[in-house]
């Protein structure tokens, strides 16, 4: 019973530290709005807060649609975090996955409609996994810092995909990838009827399913336990006979596959989005870092964090009504990450305080209280 109480306490501490980071980030956003245009600031800020709810049911649909890819990149970053790796390469893995999915969607038209999109998703996961494998291997065998190597992989992936698009599936007029075959688009399963006027499809359901799978893998399997052990104490886990090298590689491969799937879910949504041939790193990967930090690397937390970031992103678009630039959302997200980095410390402080109190009360013979 005492144990249960402690767990509850921890949940509350985690949640409150995330909440604090969010509040601080939003306040920071409000200050920026106030400085840039005081008269409209409050209206703009309310737009951010209301987010998807401004447009009722279709707004909520838009939030779900916006959240889908960043939930996947968030899961990717969070999964790697659990193994003590910082997967800043989710952008590259995301781009590779998106390209693989689009390529399958454009080229493999001989596949039957029901199978086409499944193959595309699998291809995306494979491509993302390969892009995660390289930094994982370099880290495990050659001790290369995974942050630097995945940043390099981001750029290699971006230029590589730009080149490959022009080679294999190029729409010269629009400088983007060709549209995928109808069968490669994710089934809508009536979700577009439920949320009229949106591009919502089964992508969000797939993201939720994967969040649950990741949760089960991390918390209910030996493999997940080993991964977490490697992350928390590499020396101890090595001593316990866990193959740390294998786990580092596997962790990056899985993280890559998750991010790659995110790319597929975005670009197979039949929403008029195509892969652009631009020298820009995909922002979804960096938003994934924010999502993972907010969700404290917990898959279920990541699910809600992704929805929240989706929510304020939609709010950012709506805010353009008041002549604000949507980049303010990126600034808010950055501020949230920054405060998140600080609130890890805050969390620890509460934790220590709690421990002290339990010890004290135990010493006084009132352990049950």
């Amino acid at each position: 019973m005492k144990r249960k109480k402690l767990f509850q306490g921890e949940g509350i501490v985690n949640f409150s530290s995330s909440l604090m980071a969010i509040i601080a980030g939003l306040l920071f956003g409000l200050i920026i709005l106030l400085i840039s245009n005081p008269s409209q600031a409050w209206n703009g800020f309310m737009m951010i807060i209301q987010g998807g709810f401004t447009d009722g049911i279709s707004g909520i649909g838009n939030v779900l649609y916006t959240a889908t890819p960043i939930i996947m990149t968030g899961l990717s970053v969070g999964f790697a975090f659990k193994t003590g790796l910082f997967n800043i390469g989710a952008s590259g893995q995301f781009t590779m996955g998106a390209f693989a999915a689009v390529l399958v969607g454009v080229k493999m038209t001989f596949l039957p409609a029901g199978l086409h999109w499944v193959v595309a998703l699998i291809a995306a996961m494979a491509a993302g996994a390969v892009w995660g494998f390289v930094p994982g291997l370099l880290k495990a065998c050659l001790n290369v810092n995974e942050v630097i190597s995945s940043i390099m992989m981001n750029y290699i992936g971006m230029y590589g995909v730009n080149m490959a698009i022009q080679e294999f599936c190029y729409d010269q007029v629009k400088n983007q990838s060709l549209p995928v075959a109808a069968g490669a688009n994710l089934p809508r399963a009536g979700l577009d009827k439920l949320f009229p006027g949106t591009n919502l499809n089964t992508g969000i359901l797939i993201a939720v399913i994967f969040a649950v799978i990741v949760y089960i893998v991390l918390n209910k399997t030996t493999f997940g336990y080993e991964l977490k052990a490697c992350g928390q104490n590499p020396s101890a886990s090595k001593y316990a006979g866990i193959n740390a090298k294998r786990n580092v590689i596997l962790s990056m491969v899985i993280a890559g596959a998750l991010a790659g799937l995110g790319g597929a879910l975005l670009y197979l949504a039949n929403s008029g989005r195509y892969l652009q041939v631009l020298d820009v790193i995909a922002a979804e990967g960096f938003n994934g870092i924010a999502v993972a930090l907010l969700g404290l690397s917990n898959p279920i937390g990541i699910l809600f964090a992704g929805l929240f970031i989706g929510h304020i992103t939609v709010g950012g678009y709506n805010m353009q009504l008041f002549d604000f630039v949507p980049e303010v959302i990126d600034m808010i997200i950055a501020a949230i990450i920054y405060c998140g980095a600080l609130s890890l410390l805050f969390k620890e402080m509460i934790h220590k305080f709690q421990q002290k109190r339990t010890k004290k009360s135990a010493a006084n013979g009132k352990g049950d209280k």
Partner: protein, 317 residues
């Protein structure tokens, strides 16, 4: 021969910002703070510097304006890096995360402010800084052609910064203390060195240099600033590791990358490369692939500062 001159002159444009920023990174990391925020700080420095030029180019021009802009960029970078220093040193936060936050913040801030003030996100500037030939020095055969023609004053500022920074970190009391804080902060503290202060100094120096580096990168390579320094901060980190955190090696690493980048951006002007049937994106990928390969060879016996990235806790001394 002209092609050779051209390549060397171009290499300066790419290598000097890398050199300045990597040297900045060296100061942060050898004091014990990982500064992954170099990219974001470069963006901030470039943004304020270019904005300064944009505002004052009607009343000032030429080298005076550029030197003032360098000053502005440096101050901005230094101030911006304080955020990272606060999180990393006082708050003992995860330095990679706080660095990532700054990296996300800077481009958004630059684009936001530019669009709020002038409507479009690109900030234009007129290049009045180009020096086609340095008087006297430019007339020296070969050396004059290589280093004193078709250049910018930023090249010499960069070299000057490099020389001063090298001397300071290797031959002064401050430099010794800074290196001690990166290797064994407990020992440094025990003989009365204020680790917090030194680490703040290291991080702020890295911010100042990264801010200057951002401006130095944008001036010769573009005529507007679009909220990005094209991953140069990250490349500078790679240069830092490639250079094994030692100033001399960083110098060579920076020029190695500078040549790589030059080939990527100017290959179409080099007859030999132009005729090869290789798509332009391959050239763009080469610096990053080369980085990966080099890191793979170098990381086994890395000479990274021992206490890098570990917040100093007095209690664990």
């Amino acid at each position: 021969m002209n092609t050779f001159y051209f390549v060397i002159q171009q290499t300066m444009f790419f290598a000097i910002p890398l050199l300045i920023v990597a040297i900045g990174g060296m100061y942060a990391e050898r004091s014990g703070v990982i500064n992954i925020a170099l990219e974001g700080i470069m963006v901030m420095g470039a943004f304020t510097g270019i904005f300064f030029i944009n505002i004052f180019q009607s009343s000032l021009s030429g080298q005076m304006l550029l030197l003032l802009a360098i000053l502005v960029s440096g101050v901005t970078g230094g101030v911006f890096s304080l955020l990272h220093a606060f999180a990393a040193i006082n708050m003992k936060a995860d330095q990679t995360i706080s660095g990532t936050a700054l990296n996300m913040f800077a481009p958004a801030f630059a684009i936001f402010v530019a669009r709020m003030i002038q409507g479009v996100q690109q900030i234009q500037f007129t290049d009045t800084f180009h020096i086609s030939k340095v008087p006297v020095l430019g007339d020296i055969p070969i050396i004059g052609d290589l280093f004193f023609q078709n250049c910018y004053v930023t090249t010499y500022v960069g070299i000057l910064i490099f020389i001063i920074a090298t001397i300071v970190i290797n031959n002064t009391r401050f430099g010794l203390r800074l290196r001690a804080c990166g290797e064994h902060p407990g020992a440094a503290d025990s003989v009365g060195v204020n680790v917090t202060k030194i680490r703040y100094a290291g991080t702020v120096i890295s911010g100042i240099l990264a801010g200057i580096g951002g401006l130095v990168f944008v001036i010769p390579t573009s005529t507007n600033f679009n909220g990005s320094v094209a991953g140069y901060g990250f490349l500078a980190l790679a240069v830092l590791i490639f250079g094994q955190w030692r100033s001399g090696k960083i110098f060579f690493a920076a020029f190695f990358f500078g040549i790589m980048k030059t080939l990527a951006s100017a290959y179409s002007a080099i007859p030999l490369l132009k005729d090869l049937p290789i798509p332009k994106d391959v050239y763009k990928m080469i610096p990053y692939i080369a980085t990966l390969i080099i890191l793979a060879f170098l990381s086994k016996n890395s000479q990274a500062p021992k206490a890098e990235g570990i917040p100093y806790d007095k209690g664990s001394r």
